[in-house]
Symmetry: D2
Subunit: 142 residues, 4 copies
């Protein structure tokens, strides 16, 4: 069984194209990295997209996201996205992401995600499944 | 003098490339639209990037951003980003964005921005200028 | 029946986030606009994605793309993507895109697309369908 | 002195957000990877952006780009972008990129770039510098 209780680390090299005319990372890119990091974390836990779909879920859609920016990240920087699941509600969970350059915290963010199921009344909509015990354990929540 | 006290509206047609394998808008794109909407709002207020630079500022960098997702937005949808400044602190202000499809609220978000000045001690860093009275008035804050 | 024989025009306002540290549009964005413009053109011809899927096609995938850059496009510019179908092969067609700022040609590009069908031997692959007479006529090819 | 005569390899993990509603990489992303790969290649040759700027150049802008798509690249794939300089003109050079999944060629592309200098008559424009002997040698051209 996958174990992501200790989180995951996604290294990112800051590309020219990530940066805006001010020479720093254009902020929507940070959310692109958060999303990639969450997929990495879910893979490590053994609940990546293919595994989830095999169980009848549609993925891990978003309820809420946010970020606080501490220091500008620049072209050529090598950073790491450190991600862990910080907690569970009955039908959602919170992933926290910290972007570090060496030991320096550049920014931090979060995503509240749910386990998506087709809505029984309307296939166009999704509903949030109750999070199974097994899913929590994979992220270190007993 | 520019007047953005009533906010701004940015129409967006949801393109194929905005959407992910689930067929809905990949969420970092919403932040791209928020950023474009804030530039539109600042232009309307007469404090677009060129005007700000002419006054010695470097732009309107971000302190914090966030969003809550209510309904999935799909390929082909026509939506509008409704943006207003919701309030000022001494050295920052909050822009709120509501994305509507017709009358339906699909998601809402915010950005806390500041008026960036080169830091006197270190040209690589920025500091948040005190927001001038004139700047507030342009967004309807007396 | 849709008629795109005279092409389509997609207006684009160049956003801050489209631009790179050199202050000009980062070139992959031009391809994003080409793709959006082709979808617009296909919609006008009555063969947008939903219409194609209803006929058992999977869309209009790419065989080849390219662009030549004449003048830099900058933050705040208002440009137009002028698109037409330039010709058909038996199993593909060529869309040409010209990006104009006023009367000035900034860059031009093309996409060779095909009408995608599930491959009979392997659902993971696609094959290029023979282009029906009706499809050609919608783009002004008799 | 940097030596990029043997080219460079940029590994890319295909993220969820790189993919479109058809479940395959949305093609403008390939150009994002080409651009990142060219920066990597230039770094290896010792003519990365910072080095170029220190010599009075503004970077390596594009004259032309293009790609041919052979096989669809999918979410979760691990691919490599293999890049080399294929040849020089007096004022431009051609970078070729091949994207491989294992030994399989998925697509190939190219970029024609030049060594950008501020135009003596108009600081808003760029001109293509004559490529110095030393620059060619770094990419294996004697």
């Amino acid at each position: 069984m996958g174990d992501a209780s200790r989180g995951s680390v996604l290294p990112v090299h800051v590309e020219f194209g990530h940066c805006d005319p001010a020479g720093i990372v254009w902020y929507p890119n940070f959310y692109e990295w958060f999303d990639a990091a969450s997929h990495r974390l879910a893979e490590r836990a053994g609940v990546g997209l293919h595994a989830l779909r095999a169980q009848g879920y549609v993925g891990l859609p978003l309820m809420q996201t946010g970020a606080s920016y501490h220091r500008p990240v620049r072209f050529g920087d090598d950073v790491e996205v450190h991600s862990t699941v910080a907690g569970f509600e009955r039908r959602s969970f919170r992933v926290v992401h910290r972007i570090l350059r060496g030991a320096e915290l550049m920014l931090e963010g979060f995503e509240v995600r749910f386990l998506g199921q087709p809505h029984p009344d309307d296939p166009q909509r999704l509903r949030a499944a109750e999070i199974p015990e097994d899913f929590r354990r994979r992220f270190g929540f007993g």
